[in-house]
Symmetry: C2
Subunit: 655 residues, 2 copies
């Protein structure tokens, strides 16, 4: 116990030093949460520092990313590749210890966090992934997949709606290996939690089907460790409420003032004195040895797992083979899927997607996901797989309920767990509920796929709140997210080819209207992100279009061709297009044309990148009405007659 | 009772007819919720059809907007300006009965709804508004403000995170006049609710401090009406759980198939037969008379209130005068505030805002709002007003907790209640949690103000998840939202002048870095949205900038002026700028310059509207690091040296 106390003192000391050295950071919770997080690492968390990615490791997400000083100190102490020098360079350019944990930057970090609530939903996703694999592969005597998912959460995290959505689903699905460690210190940035939140959190979580453990002495080591041990035995997900004292041991302890207070050098020295620590950024040998016990425990856990796996390979060869191959990048026969392109003629891209998605999904065992209650409408469902339900988790279709934001962040968690290809789906209008999670996804470069249908004012009768206009632009604005808006089945297939090969997330945008047959579309060329569908030597007018507007552009071109040389370019993905060579881009854009016209049922300013002052963007610039979709489309100017007229007027002005 | 049953039959019949005529609509819930919504209108809801805006009317929000057929039928029956012809033109272009209710389009509609969960949070906002006024103005014997806020919610609404956030706050604040009528039919689009949600909703709401009433016979009139009566007596907000049968009376009742099923003409006729209704879109006299009783009740309620108000005017003349003037557009003396502009020199726009916001707030009694737990950081707080807390609701500062999305929709509710000016605030990075509510706000043209600080990669040490890049563009993409990014105190003041006079919402974007003193900025000209700060006859190079980049642009101009004629234009608001005359815009943009350069720490493609192929946008195009903010700024190219170099290179190419 003496050694534990000494270790905790060094942990707190270094955390405080990191913050004072950096000049910023969350002191309060880094100190307050130290006991239980240390207990987690020391007695429970199974990790192997010599192989930090092995499949059955426990997962730990720091939803409250600001507790990073504590977290990095623990990672360092327990043998991850985080040195004392790394700790010293907390929040400095190029360091491995950024202000909030970043996936891929620091060994041991399982998810980038920062915006509150995201990590909670990521953790739910990881727990879903674990259950998906364990149900599929575990057999009697062979618990091949049985890791825990731990998530540190703050007061703020649990207030966020995304957490409530995710926890409600977790309770419904009885994700029993999910354990939230809630730092209940009753303080947030602006003061006591009770200023804004008087909920009975324990009761609320029980109502959602969770097991709840309250640790009244959240800064007592044994109490903390015992609680985690009990949580691991539960048949439900567990919320452990650690009643802690924020900033414990400092003279501002228990107040919001200590939340992100930076101790002056004098205050730091005084604080360290109370901890009996005289060194700076230093770990004594006995402290290191105490932690190494846990490191060795983790290594042993992995070795045992390897042995179990070896026996499993012999006694369950088929399952073993399936497991080994489960996450492989399968060689998909796109050409074979393409052979039947006639099937896609005369149907919408929503319907074409449903077919293609299923053909791909049948081959890709690792594809898993769901819809936010509108699968019947988006038709995004793996028809040959079951639903992932509480009673049977072998299925690959998740019923997210009306929880779009959690859905997106849960997809992120699934993708983080292992090389799953997570998919999610809803109406394009409601993609805006998901944006914070999509941003995180793009930052973490997770190859998950969002599929959005009902993609324009043609949604019609449900009215303007269901009719997206700015959503496409908002998605394209997220750096690192590839956005696809295919015009027909061939372009849908090309979109999947890219989505499944790029090291980046994708958003696929589909229309419910029937696509006309468009001569000149190409599965091969669509993979360049933008390509000429109707060519013309020295075009007078070049039309740029996407999705449902490509067919319209072709009709416009046909009419205009009576008078002008017209070329039509389809842009299934601007982000992919931008990666092509300058020569290709120039050739495709045909900037020498007298007039360039972008046609898209959106208000995305991205088109102005490709237009000059005198060019034209036919878009949607006001909210429309509740009426049949075609009426809106026409009223917004998306008719051959209107577009031809506008172009002709422009061309006349240019004479 | 017989008349009630007959009336309900006609209500259901007309709802079903509306859907069959339109070809789409939510049949299931329109039928299932008919009993309790009818009971609400008939026995409890206080409205005056001859003066639908009077202050103390009850508020009713249809969070589940898709129940609109039922809702419009009730509005029509009870005497609102919705005719039978209007019902017939459900979901048709130009009609008063759009697919989801639209504020301003149909008499009686208190909020536009559609995207699930928004209405719940609006209702919480309305209840907050009611409490704010009642605490301020009611005295013994004079319950001047004491209306109820009713909100119809669906299964889907309650799953949404925004609802959970809003309801948690409502429980904390003990908003006792808030009553949610929950259509608990156990069905959503994709099937039984239990597929995705097995929560104990009653227990969950009790944990949040709500009163819960369960009506097991949700299609029994007396049970429904009694429950609402009991709810009105509660000292806590109430959730009434009506166990209903979706699509009751049809042959698909109780299943998800009836959710949005459209009865064929034959099926409709058969259904109407079971209701004993032979007419089409017709209200018999006795049904009309039954409903008119409630209409008269409402009128009487208003008359009584007028009388009470008259006596109050005599016996509490000061309070009465304050009430009468409360929502007036006060004549703010902007020039007086401007006189002390020196105070704003050498401080950040966050700090300048804090001063200006308070000076304005001291004069505008109707300004009310809060922050999502970061008031200490955004400095958006009415220092001369108290906090709005459960024990005292006179204050104008709300503690929203970490609930950004609900905060935005609650602001909408406050603004909808009466002419409050609602404000909300958080870091710009997390504005993306609020987007769906901001879209609704823009659609409804509510003059609420969102204030976002920490507006760029200069946030620095918290890392990329706290550093906004695309958020400004996402906000600007919302049609009808005016976005302001002022560069100094004068422009902040101009932003408020506009925000408080436009019939539109505003987003104010502020920096934490100290603004340099910029010669040439003008409070007057800033009100044009864009204006020349540094002029030049026949500029070679024109720089467009906003906010923190205006000062930088001026320094760049100074350096470049050694070689070129340079002009600098500040654009505190592009939306306002776009409303100016063509002549002014052309004059300001100076498109004849050899080179146009936009400089903004964002990736907003809007700048390409003002640039041609060979022009330059100095923006941020990748996520940055956790390090001191200035390091990011420099690395992203925002230094005088780098920008001068890029411009010089471009100019050289143009020779």
């Amino acid at each position: 116990m003496k050694n534990i106390e000494k270790t905790l003192n060094y942990i707190k000391s270094i955390s405080a030093e990191m913050i004072t050295t950096a000049g910023s950071g969350n002191l309060g919770a880094s100190l307050g949460a130290s006991t239980f997080l240390f207990a987690l690492f020391k007695d429970h968390y199974n990790f192997d520092v010599s192989d930090t990615d092995f499949l059955n490791r426990d997962r730990l997400v720091l939803s409250s990313g600001q507790v990073s000083p504590l977290y990095y100190t623990l990672l360092s102490l327990f043998g991850f590749d985080v040195s004392l020098q790394d700790l010293k360079s907390f929040r400095q350019f190029g360091s491995k210890t950024p202000g909030n944990p970043e996936y891929g930057k620091t060994e041991g970090v399982e998810a980038s966090t920062g915006p509150l609530g995201q990590g909670v939903a990521n953790a739910v996703g990881m727990a879903i992934a674990e259950k998906s694999l364990s149900e599929r592969f575990n057999t009697v005597g062979f618990p091949i997949i049985n890791n825990y998912t731990y998530c540190h959460v703050s007061e703020g995290d649990l207030m966020e709606g995304i957490s409530q959505e995710a926890c409600s689903l977790a309770g419904t699905l009885k994700l029993s290996k999910l354990i939230l460690l809630y730092d209940c210190n009753d303080v947030t940035v602006d003061g006591r939690v009770s200023l804004s939140n008087k909920e009975d959190v324990a009761k609320k979580f029980k109502a959602m089907g969770w097991n709840v453990i309250i640790v009244r002495k959240g800064n007592n080591y044994n109490a903390c460790s015992r609680a985690i041990g009990r949580a691991k035995k539960s048949k439900k997900p567990t919320l452990i409420i650690f009643k802690t004292i924020i900033g414990i041991g400092t003279n501002k302890e228990g107040t919001s003032a200590v939340y992100d207070y930076v101790l002056t050098q004098d205050e730091l020295d005084a604080y360290k004195k109370t901890l009996n620590v005289t060194d700076s950024f230093y770990i004594p040998a006995d402290v290191r040895e105490l932690c190494m016990q846990a490191t060795r425990r983790g290594k042993l856990y992995h070795e045992n797992w390897n042995q179990t796996l070896a026996i499993y390979a012999n006694s369950q060869p088929e399952l073993y083979k399936e497991l080994v191959n489960y996450f492989d990048k399968k060689k998909l026969d796109y050409e074979k899927i393409l052979k039947n392109e006639d099937r896609w003629v005369g149907i919408s891209t929503v319907d074409a997607n449903s077919m293609i998605f299923n053909e791909i999904g049948d081959k890709l065992s690792q594809l898993i996901g769901g819809c936010a209650d509108v699968a019947r409408k988006t038709k995004v469902n793996l028809n040959n797989s079951e639903n992932f339900l509480v009673r049977s988790k072998r299925g690959r279709n998740l019923h997210y309920g009306v929880r779009e934001h959690a859905m997106a962040a849960i997809s992120n968690g699934i993708a983080l767990y292992e090389d799953f290809i997570a998919f999610d789906s809803t109406f394009l209008a409601f993609s805006n509920y998901m944006i914070p999670a999509l941003r995180m996804r793009a930052m973490m470069k997770l190859p998950a796929i969002s599929i959005f249908t009902h993609d324009s004012i043609c949604v019609g009768q449900s009215g303007p709140t269901y009719q997206p206009i700015e959503q496409i632009g908002q998605l394209r604005s997220i750096i690192g997210l590839n956005v696809f808006r295919p015009c027909d089945g061939k372009e849908v297939l090309a979109s999947y080819k890219l989505a499944l090969s790029e090291e980046a997330p994708s958003a696929l945008i589909l229309s419910n209207q029937v696509s006309p047959e468009i001569e000149g579309t190409s599965y091969k060329d669509a993979q360049l992100g933008g390509y000429v569908v109707k060519s013309s030597k020295a075009a007078d007018v070049v039309l740029y279009a996407t999705g449902s507007e490509v067919g319209l552009a072709m009709e416009v071109a046909k009419e205009l061709s009576k008078k002008y040389e017209v070329s039509v370019v389809s842009f299934p993905s601007l982000e992919i297009f931008e990666k092509q060579t300058s020569a290709y881009k120039l050739r495709t854009l045909q900037k020498d044309a007298k007039l360039r016209v972008a046609i898209e049922a959106s208000n995305d300013n991205v088109w102005y990148k490709y237009l000059n002052d005198d060019d034209l963007f036919i878009g949607v610039h006001s909210y429309m009405q509740s009426c049949p979709g075609g009426v809106n489309y026409a009223k917004a100017g998306f008719t051959v007659k209107n577009i031809v007229k506008e172009i002709t007027n422009r061309m006349n002005k240019k004479q």
